[in-house]
Subunit: 213 residues, 4 copies
Amino acid sequence: MSMIVKSKVEVPELIEKRRGQIIKAAIELFGKHGYHVTTIRDIAKRANVSIGLIYQYVSDKEDVLFLAIVEVLDSYARSIPEAIDGIDDPLKRFCTAVRAYCVVNGERVDATVLTYRETKSLRKNRRNLIKEKEVETNKLIAACIQDCVKAGLFEPVDIELFTYQIVMFSHAWALKAWRFRNLMSLDDYVDRGLNLMLNPVLTAQGKRAFARL
Amino acid sequence: MSMIVKSKVEVPELIEKRRGQIIKAAIELFGKHGYHVTTIRDIAKRANVSIGLIYQYVSDKEDVLFLAIVEVLDSYARSIPEAIDGIDDPLKRFCTAVRAYCVVNGERVDATVLTYRETKSLRKNRRNLIKEKEVETNKLIAACIQDCVKAGLFEPVDIELFTYQIVMFSHAWALKAWRFRNLMSLDDYVDRGLNLMLNPVLTAQGKRAFARL
Amino acid sequence: MSMIVKSKVEVPELIEKRRGQIIKAAIELFGKHGYHVTTIRDIAKRANVSIGLIYQYVSDKEDVLFLAIVEVLDSYARSIPEAIDGIDDPLKRFCTAVRAYCVVNGERVDATVLTYRETKSLRKNRRNLIKEKEVETNKLIAACIQDCVKAGLFEPVDIELFTYQIVMFSHAWALKAWRFRNLMSLDDYVDRGLNLMLNPVLTAQGKRAFARL
Amino acid sequence: MSMIVKSKVEVPELIEKRRGQIIKAAIELFGKHGYHVTTIRDIAKRANVSIGLIYQYVSDKEDVLFLAIVEVLDSYARSIPEAIDGIDDPLKRFCTAVRAYCVVNGERVDATVLTYRETKSLRKNRRNLIKEKEVETNKLIAACIQDCVKAGLFEPVDIELFTYQIVMFSHAWALKAWRFRNLMSLDDYVDRGLNLMLNPVLTAQGKRAFARL
DNA sequence: GATGAATGAGCGTTCATTCAT
DNA sequence: GATGAATGAACGCTCATTCAT
């Protein structure tokens, strides 16, 4: 995926290391101040590298934005399988996935907001890649829902919309952090949210299972 | 509210007229290309005025962004009372409000996205004004919910969260337009969404009322 | 011709005036130091304008080079008709044209050398325009030759090649100024050159006419 | 001559070999794209060596340009003695020299143009060395002319100017390749040129000799 | 009140050169 | 001897803002 971005240096370990530095700095700065306001000089300084070095590993500033957004989305996507690995009960898998996704979005509010603010600053091709990535991540959640339906824990439900409800719920914590932070903890947010969203969806069996969690 | 922005010209009708031109152009351009990518030249050209004229009614580019976002949010907020005016039945008021809010967000996808992308480009004070405005709008929805609860149509519900669920649902149509546009009409989206979100919330009485709508 | 170059300002007198300043400075600096070594800042300083002003009248540095070369070639081309205007005798016209062309090339050695050094720095289309311009100028000389042939003053001669011989002779004074300057005056150069080049070409009648000049 | 350029490596065979690679690549690239547009990276890649290696045999980019121009001029100068070696008849020697010089200039148009475009990019000292080299080469032609005069084949002629006429004639094929290429072959060019230039210069004896060639 | 030519700080980017390996 | 990753000064160019008309 990241091979889309051209590098003048060809040693893979070096690419990984240097891009790591650059992207880390970029996510912080883009997240805090936005893409256009952040200069390459800012990134170089924060990453403790020279301006020239950045251009050895990237062909322009937009490349940095692309890599930054991809890194954020990838790390978010990775967190779901990691969280539910080893859990068998479908309902528990679902709840754990949701919580994990909320947590990872909530831990890096700026990064989450970055993906909303600046995806449009990418050129079309790359914007589409980002969207595909989002769809992939959503499928992880959709699969959990599907499993719950199959297990008779959820009523047959509008999966497409329900998935987006979950996703928006998770993003909302970051997008509206200024509001929620003062009202409740993330844990409460997830609890209350699951309560609200799950009630209409749980079967009788599901309700019993949910009560046990 | 808009008196926060200084104008060199003092004739109120002129301010209204000229700012109207400027802001209309700005919303279109900021919405399409983003705030930083759009130049004052672009706005002047689109608004059919000179660069200098803009600076007679505004003191810098950020003022234009502020006025643009305020105008978008205000027009959205206005649409809710307009829609439910004259409707008495609480459930119908609620459903109409939701649909109206989805419609205005959906009719001006770029404008809606603009508020998400560029509010952070405002300085703190103004960002806070925008947030207050959002809270005000949300209260319009919250009030509808409250009324339904009072009327025994909704179970006692987590109003704060339920409101945000509705709001995010409305925004999601714009934020994820690239996805939904291909899957369903806005009308279907609202129908399916209300179904999903209302089921867990309606009382027995509410369910009967909902079926009749 | 110069309408090929886009200007943000549209007032023709302003374009003429400002481009005049810019091109004058550019010819001096490009001529002395070369195109790539000269910076836009250098040109702005020498022309007593700001950097930004240059970009109001030109879209990039190459435009400046193009306008500079065109101006040099045009002024050279203009000098020939000016010099022979009012002269009727074909041989005298020819000799005057040659001398005028040598003079104008010799008065602005750097400018002449500039056209040799930097035409290749233009993109293809413009390079071709420059070549067309050169061909046009050469035609002015070729016409003089033709007239001498018709008048029985020149033997029927290889006009294409003879024209180029004259042209290269004129350019050579500039291209090899470092050599000729120390050996003779431009006047002597032209006298000796005409002698050398004309002898094989003059008819008996022509020789008598030449002796009288 | 080339000892003017400092090398960090001191093994002469290595210097010769490596510089050979570098200069060959440089002549090609400088010739095609110009000195300033060509990067050291480009040269290294084309020469199949590393960037660092170039700086072992040369102290800066200008050294490369200098060596490149010297190499071009030297190879041109060498071609004249090679061509006329073994020929005794002065007129034939002259004609052969002219043709050889035209051929070598015509075979490497880009290289010839390079010497015109970029000699000015050298610092003064080196520019003078180049000029001396040119004078040396011209002397080879001048000597041929002198011999023809001595042999009574040429009228006593303005040798300085006649030499330059020949030289410019030879260079013109390269400098105006865009024109001549479409009009005639190099062979025709030389034939027609000699005809034009020799006529005024040949004695009666010379004319008979020329007719026999 | 309206215009738009003029300014110049500051951006993204390049590339000759160095030096640790 | 050979490499090429790293550096950063310096370039071309943009655009928010001003101000004379």
